[in-house]
């Protein structure tokens, strides 16, 4: 489902003397349907960068990034947008939303974008919010003023609204209490059971052990360091 081959990534800072920061070289990763692979490595090793490259948010300098058969490193914007609508979900570390939009709509949006009936989309959104213990009185409000943990749960609810065949999870349990962490791990297990290919970053070793089938240390892709 996700097949990354020999990907490199660098940042050229044109306004800082053209400094080139080489972040990644020779990155390869294969994730089959129903499998969850954890990315590990010290802070700054490139875990989030690799995830963003898979999502098409960062441009790979070379190599191929196949997701559901589409090479994200070369695809047109509209092909990537379609992939993101239908195939590839992403729970980023921070929630980014349009001001004024109620929480329940934020969560239902991926389904509405797919043309799902609004009533059904809303019902699914409400079920997820309830499961993630977001109090019902918050549903009609914009999540912009919520606490960090609440925003993260809204972000997770949105990421799981549609049954994406592939999912990227960047520290989905970072600021959650034990109860909500357990819910997120359940959601991940269910996604795996229906065949989703998942790439995750988990600081929490126990959580990682519970849901991940394999671990890939991205330090092995750091330029100039022998793998």
């Amino acid at each position: 489902m996700i097949d990354i081959r020999d990907v490199s990534k660098s940042f050229t800072l044109h306004n800082q003397g053209g400094a080139v920061i080489r972040v990644m070289e020779g990155a390869s990763l294969h994730v089959a349907p129903g499998e969850c692979v954890a990315l590990t490595g010290a802070s700054g090793a490139g875990k989030s960068t690799l995830m963003r490259v898979i999502y098409g948010n960062y441009l790979a300098a070379s190599g191929s990034v196949l997701v559901g058969g589409l090479d994200v490193a070369r695809a047109e914007p509209r092909e990537i947008l379609r992939l993101r609508r239908e195939v590839l979900g992403y729970v980023s570390q921070f929630l980014r939303v349009v001001p004024r939009v109620p929480t329940v709509e934020v969560v239902a949006e991926p389904l509405l974008a797919l043309g799902v009936d609004p009533e059904a989309a809303r019902a699914r959104a409400e079920a997820l919010l309830r499961r993630l213990n977001i109090p019902e009185r918050l549903w009609p409000l914009s999540p912009t003023t919520f606490s960090g943990g609440e925003q993260q749960r809204v972000n997770i609810a949105r990421g799981f609204a549609h049954a994406y065949p592939a999912l990227l999870l960047d520290e989905p349990t970072a600021s959650l209490d034990a109860e909500n962490r357990a819910v997120v791990l359940e959601l991940i297990a269910e996604a795996k059971a229906r065949g989703a290919a998942i790439v995750g970053i988990f600081h929490d070793v126990e959580a990682r052990a519970r849901v991940c089938d394999r671990v890939v240390d991205v330090s092995g892709f750091t330029p100039g360091v022998a793998a």
């Binding site: 441009l59 914007p77 001001p99």
Partner: protein
């Protein structure tokens, strides 16, 4: 799916000065493209060439029309172009007064557009005007008021209603939120996003505000000195800009 708009090699000069040059891109149905760049970079010149308000010195603007299929709007006759601008296109100006008739009531501003495409049924026109006032969050009770009595944000929403009532397929917008307070901008953006999604519109939005394109645009084109220096998926261009000018643009704003 074939493109709604194919732009090839558009160039416009003002004497020796370049307005815009060498601009080519395809826009597909339902796509929203943002054009960013600092003041004087050629955004408005380009938009006006695309919308038929300015005659480019070179290039083609091939639009897939309802009636005739793909046609080069640069070489079509003026009456044909005028008709197209009523039936297939909409143009939202930065200053609402440029896109509204200030001496005509709010309802009249909306109804006039329907009459321009041949609707003559008073009851139906009035009902459509009321429906559109509601969609842009203007109280129906204000239908007989003139736009001069409206706030800036309301005028802009009325301009949008006037433009969208005829069900265009492509909307051109030049700094649609410029000059509005931040909170008013947010409301307008939210409204525009909803309308674009529900009506399946294609749109080209010119702005110098990166937060606006982050929210509204699928794709981004960055202009400098009349030329496109970078283009791509909006979040990719903003989060991983490749060109020095885009990096400067992105790093000069606090957070988008």
């Amino acid at each position: 799916m074939s493109p709604l708009l194919r732009v090839a090699g558009i160039e416009k000069r003002y004497g020796a000065r370049i307005g815009c040059a060498d601009v080519s891109f395809d826009l597909y149905p339902g796509e929203v493209m943002g054009i960013v760049g600092e003041s004087g970079s050629g955004k408005s010149t380009l938009l006006n060439c695309l919308a038929g308000h300015l005659a480019p010195d070179a290039g083609q603007v091939i639009f897939d029309t309802w009636r005739m299929g793909p046609v080069d709007t640069v070489t079509m006759s003026e009456p044909e172009r005028r008709m197209l601008s009523r039936t297939d296109w909409a143009f939202v100006h930065q200053h609402a007064r440029d896109g509204l008739r200030m001496s005509v009531s709010a309802g009249g501003n909306i109804g006039e557009r329907l009459m321009a495409v041949g609707d003559r049924h008073y009851g139906r026109i009035r009902a459509a005007a009321l429906d559109w006032l509601d969609r842009v969050e203007i109280d129906g009770a204000r239908i007989d008021d003139r736009p001069s009595a409206f706030s800036g944000g309301m005028q802009q929403r009325l301009q949008i209603a006037r433009n969208l009532v005829t069900g265009p397929r492509l909307v051109f917008m030049d700094e649609p939120t410029g000059g509005l307070d931040v909170s008013v901008q947010a409301r307008l953006l939210d409204l525009l996003r909803g309308l674009v999604r529900r009506m399946g519109l294609s749109a080209i939005i010119v702005t110098h505000d990166l937060a606006v394109v982050r929210l509204l645009a699928d794709r981004l084109m960055v202009m400098k000195d009349g030329r496109v220096v970078e283009s791509g998926l909006t979040d990719q261009v903003l989060d991983d800009p490749q060109h020095g000018y885009t990096q400067l643009l992105v790093s000069s704003v606090l957070q988008v």
